[in-house]
């Protein structure tokens, strides 16, 4: 099969599957379709990888005009739908924004679309391949997980109407749109798929139709629509003053004078989609959605689309004041979001803020834009997607068993759900411990920042932010590995679909750490070589050391299987007070008291309200600088 056919398959197949999912009502049939489609997507992806990995960037022209008209029609239908919903829920901000955006695109379509010819609409290169693998593999696993999760969800939330067929429909439409996004070269196509993902996110956040969910869905919608308007602004600019350039490849080749303003506008769209400060509240609010949504859209794929496009446009940003402004937004988001995560005890909020922080780091790397920084950025994208989706799914499973998503209620998880705890530990370790992927990426990022001009400021921000992440991850890990005797085993009731997804991702976390030198040399380094003329590499010594550490970490836990005799057990020291195993002790005046241990949340230092205010203020100011810099560039130059 030709590569272009594989690309089209990947874009259209999930769409077709979506319609099947909409039609199906029984869980058994659903399971069959999801499993088959997961296998199909996985198989095609592997085939695509094998065929395309060594070809560099390959471009394909695919019937631009007819597809363009279909896309425009769908866009207008979506706009009318959103307009109607905005009126119905009295959210006039959304009404205003969608009107503005639609008018911009109508104007484009009416006036300029005829005259613009994009030679290549689709393409694939190593970066697209990596993104596609993430979308396909992680996306499919999450859809499998969702089978078990949503079944339990509706069993326990009878008050929420069971619209599972709609849920899976939107999930698969989303997958289709994501594939389109990473394979599209035509900027109008990218914009189309972008808006579809916005719509999917909106629909999925509001799935439960509770008041909170609806409100948060609209928040996500208007923030992403802001980005969409900027995106359409970029398209209009390119159509008018930009010489009619509408292909990504042409944009990247056209030089900074023309390309910087549209790049900044599209970069702004990327910032809103990746929930960078000051637009982070929508992602935190999106945590009301069912876990598969959080795992798929709001950690591993949709928000990655935001940083994907920024990393794509990084060569345009490199060395410009706007690029530096973008990098600072990312860096400060990283620092501040990590700080806020310390003060949160709701597990999904911690994961949300951690996601925002790590995306900030990717944006910082992209803003700096040297080849080393891009290498770090892509590595971060890969490893974060895997670990974070694992963590979200694990938290979702745990939540269903212990009926809480508060970390304080996860004390002693290792005794009641040992295997899930082990996978959570792998996920958390994957986020901040050497030699796992995220730490390696941060290591690479440090080196990338140092070598860049003015980089030392970013290194300092990274050093502090990295230390902060150690705190909230380690205390979470400590909570779940606390050995509390006599707890009821809850693992038997976990759905097999959830097991498949969790175990696969846990395995993937470890395996990618082992094979990342391979990923780097086969995919990343050729990509960097092609786009930057230079390639980054890790020295062989370092790779050996990391593999050794990883090997130790994998082998050492197996020692629990060795036969050993039990030691004498004594209770914990409670100042001499006699304590029952569940930590009741007789306190003063002979009263029975219960010991409670809580993690430190350092609210006065890292409180959400305080830090958010600082972050929003700071990053809004930097945003202003970013736009000013590009506006003045046009004037001054």
């Amino acid at each position: 099969m030709q590569i272009v056919q594989l690309l089209v398959f990947l874009i259209l197949f999930p769409l077709i599957t979506a319609f099947f999912m909409f039609a199906v009502r029984k869980n058994g049939e659903r399971k069959l379709i999801v499993s088959l489609s997961a296998l199909a997507i996985g198989g095609v992806l592997v085939y695509l990888l094998v065929t395309a990995f060594d070809k560099g960037a390959v471009y394909f022209g695919v019937g631009s005009e007819s597809v363009g008209m279909v896309m425009f029609a769908i866009e207008m239908a979506v706009a009318v739908f959103i307009f109607y919903l905005g009126i119905r829920y009295r959210n006039y901000l959304v009404v205003g924004l969608i009107t503005l955006q639609s008018l911009a695109m109508i104007w484009y379509e009416a006036v300029y679309a005829r005259g613009i010819e994009v030679q290549y609409s689709l393409f694939v290169d190593q970066f697209s391949l990596i993104m596609a693998l993430i979308i396909g593999i992680i996306g499919s696993l999450i859809c499998v997980y969702a089978l078990g999760y949503m079944k339990h969800f509706h069993e326990h939330h009878v008050e929420i109407p069971d619209r599972r067929n709609w849920f899976f429909f939107v999930l698969f439409v989303f997958l289709s749109a994501m594939f389109g996004l990473v394979f599209a070269n035509n900027i109008v196509w990218v914009y189309f798929f972008w808006e579809i993902t916005t719509l999917c996110s909106f629909l999925l956040i509001g799935y439960t139709k509770t008041e909170e969910a609806t409100a948060n869905a609209f928040t996500a919608l208007w923030m992403n629509l802001l980005g969409g308007i900027a995106f359409s602004g970029a398209i209009l600019y390119l159509a008018t003053l930009g010489g009619g350039i509408m292909g990504l490849d042409q944009l990247l080749a056209s030089g900074k004078v023309i390309a910087l303003l549209p790049a900044v506008l599209i970069g702004f769209a990327g910032l809103t989609k990746a929930a960078q400060l000051p637009f982070s509240s929508w992602l935190v609010g999106a945590m009301v959605a069912p876990t598969p949504v959080s795992a798929l859209l709001h950690s591993s794929t949709m928000v990655k689309a935001g940083v994907y496009i920024i990393v794509r446009l990084a060569p345009i940003f490199q060395g410009t004041p706007s690029g530096y402004a973008l990098a600072f937004i990312g860096a400060f988001t990283f620092l501040i979001a990590s700080g806020i995560a310390i003060s949160r005890s709701n597990a999904k909020q911690v994961l949300a803020y951690s996601t925002i922080a790590n995306l900030g780091l990717v944006v910082a790397c992209a803003g700096i834009g040297t080849y080393e920084a891009i290498w770090a950025a892509i590595l971060l994208i890969i490893f974060h997607a895997i670990s974070k989706s694992l963590l979200f799914m694990a938290v979702g499973t745990v939540e269903h068993r212990i009926s809480s998503r508060d970390i304080e209620n996860m004390r002693g998880l290792i005794t009641c759900m040992p295997k899930i705890t082990a996978m959570m530990v792998i996920g958390i370790a994957g986020m901040f411990l050497a030699p796992f992927g995220m730490l390696i990426s941060k290591w690479v990022a440090i080196r990338a920042f140092i070598d860049a001009p003015l980089g030392f400021i970013f290194v300092i921000i990274l050093a502090f932010g990295s230390a902060i992440t150690v705190f909230f991850w380690a205390k979470w890990m400590g909570k779940i590995i606390t050995v509390v005797p006599d707890k009821v085993h809850l693992e038997g009731k976990v759905d097999p679909n959830e097991w498949i997804a969790l175990v696969s991702l846990a395995g993937l976390t470890v395996i990618t750490c082992f094979i990342f030198p391979l990923i780097s040399s086969m995919l990343l380094e050729p990509f960097l070589l092609a786009n930057y003329g230079v390639s980054a590499q890790l020295s062989q010594d370092n790779i050996t050391i990391m593999i050794l550490m990883l090997f130790l970490l994998v082998v050492l836990p197996l020692s629990v299987l060795l036969p050993h005799h039990r030691h004498k057990h004594v209770p914990a020291y409670m100042g001499g007070r006699t304590t029952t195993p569940d930590m009741h002790f007789s306190g003063s005046l002979g009263m029975q008291r219960q010991m409670e241990l809580s993690n430190y949340y350092l609210d006065s230092w890292f409180g959400e309200a305080k830090l958010r205010k600082i972050g929003i203020g700071l990053c809004t100011a930097i945003l202003a600088v970013m736009f000013l810099a590009v506006a003045l560039r046009g004037v001054v130059l």
Partner: protein, 158 residues
Amino acid sequence: MAYLKKSPWIIHYDASSCNGCDIEILACLTPMYDVERFGIINTGNPKHADIFVVTGTVNEQNREIILNIYNQIPDPKAVVAVGICATSAGVFRECYNVAGGVDMVIPVDVYVPGCAARPESIIDGIVTALGIIEEKRRMMDLPAGGKPAAADSPGGGT
């Protein structure tokens, strides 16, 4: 080589003492008597300790606590009852709220009488306890010389 004698760590518990004996015990740590010369450290943690130094009498409130602390000290261990109150309840023997000396609750190895017991006596008592601990260790059949008995594999304990 026997290391227990060279490095006895004590845990000091004030049962219901008037603090007279406690002050004398702490005086042993001061430069005047300097028991750290003998490797003695006052840890506050029974799990780290070898010698349990108790002052004061036993009453209903501290009976369980003495037992609890004693059980948390790893073998081999010795108990030193410092002061006449810990030895036999001393002048408070007939009181309604006093059960007796520490040997009402746990087996005592060395009695250091006095009110308050002098630092010299206390040190003498602890040194005597060292000999007793050494005896106990031999009886536990532990390898002398502190070979790191399989401490490198989790679970392989002594």
